[in-house]
């Protein structure tokens, strides 16, 4: 009996919880369940979903990428400065942050695969370094159109309209970032289900030694996973700049925890018991709904951290109680 309750809570707990939260907020505020607000929720989670897909990939290969938050920050200021400082065309504004995201992934992979530092510690160190790099690059200032430079002159460029459309525009009434997010979620899901590389990542996460002894090139697969994680975080950063219209310092700092919470809520969705894309998406929705609802209830933004943390603890508790029982 007890066992079945636990099984049920593991499988459907997250879904049920979202349902309860939705019900609660819609009863509390009639505006909550309107199309505009729901679209708003989805738009607000689009950024963290990209980051969370990256975290899902690194967790799938039994790694853990802690550096995604500061990679978001780096990509944010890079895309903003490309426009504001250097007046670059749109393609460069997008490609440069992606390249740097990939480089962060390569550095992580080098430390983990070649130097053999444990994933958590290597990416923790890289997190610090990247965070320092992005602040050094902007000398600690946020980047906005025609900003005041240190030498007293004004910066030549501005955040372009086209670029802003990426974060704020709509296509057929649907916010463009939401469309991007849905495409990314579907693509990532198909990637894990139907591609060779995706399958290899899953197998490697199950037991790296057994995968290696099956002839898998585990170092290569792990490297690709971290590069993907870095690039996805960079996409998150670009979207962030496009959404708020400037390049804030430390924009990505809260992203790490939100992404990790999303992934671990997703761990248990439908009883998967492992990182999975659909679960991560549902986890991201849960967090988005919570934040949105609490904002409506005028909960202060710093207080929402307590709730988000509590959700993470709950998700971890359900997941690990279940995993430990299965082991026995």
């Amino acid at each position: 009996m007890n066992n079945r309750v636990l099984q049920f809570s593991f499988k459907y707990g997250a879904i049920l919880f979202i349902g309860i939260v939705l019900l609660f907020f819609s009863l509390y505020n009639e505006y909550f369940l309107t199309y505009n607000n729901l679209a708003d929720i989805l738009r607000s989670i689009s950024i963290v979903t990209f980051v969370a897909i990256g975290v899902t990939i690194s967790l799938t290969v039994d790694g853990f990428d802690l550096s995604v938050g500061s990679t978001v920050s780096l990509a944010t200021v890079l895309s903003a400065t490309m426009m504001v400082w250097y007046e670059m065309p749109l393609a460069v504004v997008i490609i440069v942050p992606l390249v740097f995201g990939a480089i962060v992934g390569l550095i992580n992979a080098f430390l983990i695969v070649k130097v053999r530092i444990p994933d958590l510690l290597a990416t923790l160190a890289v997190m610090y370094i990247v965070s320092g790099v992005h602040k050094t690059y902007t000398k600690g200032y946020s980047i906005y159109s025609n900003m005041q430079m240190q030498d007293g002159t004004k910066a030549p460029g501005a955040i372009s309209k086209q670029f802003l459309w990426i974060g704020q525009g709509k296509l057929l009434g649907v916010p463009f970032p939401v469309i991007l997010m849905v495409i990314a979620v579907i693509a990532a899901h198909l990637f894990f289900k139907y591609t060779r590389l995706g399958r290899q990542m899953i197998m490697m996460g199950g037991n790296e030694e057994a995968a290696r002894l099956s002839g898998l090139r585990v170092k290569r697969v792990r490297t690709i996973a971290y590069v993907a994680s870095g690039v996805l975080a960079a996409i998150g950063g670009i979207l962030f700049t496009a959404r708020v219209g400037n390049g804030q310092v430390d924009a990505g700092a809260p992203m790490l925890m939100e992404a990790v919470a999303a992934v671990f809520v997703g761990y248990s969705v439908f009883g998967a018991g492992r990182p999975n894309i659909i679960g991560t998406f549902i986890g991201a929705i849960l967090i988005g709904v919570l934040v949105n609802g609490m904002t409506m209830m005028n909960v202060e933004y710093y207080t929402t951290d307590i709730i988000k943390g509590a959700v993470l603890v709950l998700a971890l508790a359900v997941t690990f109680i279940h995993l430990n029982r299965r082991k026995n």
Binding site: Y194, M203, G206, A210, L213, G215, R217
Partner: protein, 508 residues
């Protein structure tokens, strides 16, 4: 420690039954052990003796049957329950049971140190004195102040047994204690066992070496296929009878060898070496040939197999496959060259237990199952269904996680994942370990068929009977070197044992 004054105790296991994943490992087994008796428990691998002993020591729970001491039924649900009743087990891996950086005395008196009762202060003088007295009573001379980490394997074993004595054990299970020991070290162990016996302790002695069994035991029980087939006083039987009881049929009758045409040499190694365990191995495997490499535990078989497969990288030596020079630096390179390994640690290395049979079987050949990086679902399913049928893997569905399969069927998955690759050399490391008889027959058939297809087979095992029955050629590995080669029909079990352990004697 007044065991010697008490009357001999009687431990009875009756009607014990146990199955794993629907496969019966023990069927209605009765076993009796008297205080002051050395009772040998024999049987081929998979006969059920270790399962029986694990039930006695509380590591497993039996499905049926009772355990009683002096007529009083016990509830043995955990190793702690067993210990409370004076039943102790010494496993082969002595290192896990001792605290390496503590002294011999501390290890012997560990229970007292770990207990929450008594004085909070340690009286070192008294502790060492008592430990020395325990060793003295057992006729052992080991300095109690030495750190356990500095002792030899044999000495650690003795310390571990002395600790059982200090813990007032009444019944002791020794699970293949002599396997890693030299003859001289084994002699010391037998002296110690004699001491325990005189103190009224009952000993279950598990060993594969028949001469020593007849030398030390009072009574012999032989198990086969999960049941007891023989229970006699040691004096009333002989080695021939015991072997016949263990095997039932001879190996040849049980597992007939499939005829295969032996072609030209495929794999050749020269001076292959790494670390202390593999010290210059030369061997050749021809197409269609089954070459067995036999050796005792610790001879370097697993290490050798890992070098051949690139799981570890050889420090020196050469390897040629066909006419190409290869020395694989990773398993991926070995697979590409055409060498595959079915490793000994099946659940940790051979298969991914959480993944489905389907995904396990397709892992090494994902490339040929996919186009432009996208896996073809139908192709993958067809391949899995094919392999499952061909190898006789018993599973409800291909999508079942391999964790739910029996050991034998897991092993077939570990083999099956390679059979669709174009590997030329199959290396098997103890493939029948923990596998039931039916699956064992299937595994030998699969290996025979691979040989018929012209693959070269390298079969590493410590089961001499398997090597004698299966192989076209037997190489004896001792301390990381091939010390002898026999053609089919040239050697007996005794020859193999002699050469497998002789090298060790010279070293000592």
């Amino acid at each position: 420690m007044g065991q010697s004054e008490q009357p001999a105790r009687l431990l009875q296991m009756s009607g014990i039954g146990k199955s794993f994943a629907g496969v019966a490992a023990l069927k209605n087994v009765d076993f009796e052990l008297r205080g002051g008796e050395i009772h040998a428990l024999l049987g081929a691998n998979g006969a059920g003796k270790s399962t029986l002993m694990k039930i006695l020591s509380g590591a497993y729970e039996g499905d049926e049957g009772t355990v009683a001491i002096d007529g009083e039924t016990l509830l043995v649900r955990s190793p702690a329950d067993a210990k409370k009743n004076g039943i102790h087990c010494v496993y082969q891996e002595v290192d896990t049971s001792l605290v390496q950086h503590l002294s011999v005395a501390e290890n012997i008196m560990l229970d007292r140190l770990a207990s929450s009762e008594g004085s909070a202060w340690i009286a070192w003088g008294k502790l060492n004195e008592e430990a020395a007295r325990v060793l003295g009573r057992l006729g052992l001379r080991i300095d109690v102040n030495r750190a356990v980490a500095d002792l030899t394997l044999a000495e650690k074993q003795l310390v571990l047994i002395a600790r059982l004595f200090a813990q007032e054990a009444k019944f002791v299970i020794l699970d293949e204690p002599t396997a890693p020991l030299s003859l001289e070290e084994a002699d010391r162990l037998f002296g110690l066992m004699d001491g325990l016996k005189k103190a009224g302790i009952g000993i279950v002695f598990i060993s594969h070496r028949l001469p020593e069994v007849f030398r030390v035991s009072d009574r012999i029980t032989v198990m086969r296929d999960g049941g007891v087939v023989m229970n006699e006083p040691a004096g009333a039987t002989n080695a021939g009878e015991v072997i016949r009881a263990m095997l039932g049929k001879s190996f040849e009758e049980e597992y007939p060898k499939l005829p295969a045409v032996i072609g030209g040499p495929l794999l050749e190694t020269k001076g292959l070496a790494a670390g202390r365990r593999v010290r210059g191995v030369d061997l050749t495997v021809s197409s269609g040939e089954i070459v067995a490499v036999v050796g005792l535990v610790g001879a370097g078989k697993t290490e050798l197999s890992r070098l051949l497969f690139g799981a570890d990288v050889a420090e020196s030596g050469t390897m040629t496959l066909g006419s190409k020079n290869i020395l694989p630096r990773s398993p991926a390179e070995a697979v590409e060259a055409g060498i595959v390994l079915v490793p000994e640690e099946r659940r940790k290395e051979g298969i991914l237990v959480r993944e489905s049979v389907l995904h396990n079987l397709s892992l090494p050949i994902l490339k040929s199952l996919s186009r432009l990086g996208i896996i073809s679902g139908p192709k993958e399913k067809r391949h899995a269904a094919d392999t499952i049928a061909r190898l006789g893997i018993k599973t409800h569905r291909a999508e079942t996680a391999t964790a739910f399969l029996s050991g034998g069927n897991q092993q077939k998955v570990a083999i099956g994942k390679w059979t669709s690759t174009d590997a030329k050399i199959f290396v098997f490391d103890e493939p029948t370990k923990g596998v039931d008889i039916g699956a064992k027959r299937d595994i030998f058939r699969i290996i025979g068929e691979l040989a018929q297809q012209g693959k070269g087979i390298l079969y590493l095992t410590c089961e001499f009977a398997e090597a004698l029955g299966l192989a076209d050629r037997i190489l004896v590995l001792c301390d990381g070197e091939i010390v002898r080669s026999f053609d089919r029909g040239e050697a007996t079990q005794e020859d193999l044992l002699y050469y497998a352990s002789a090298g060790k004697e010279e070293m000592a």
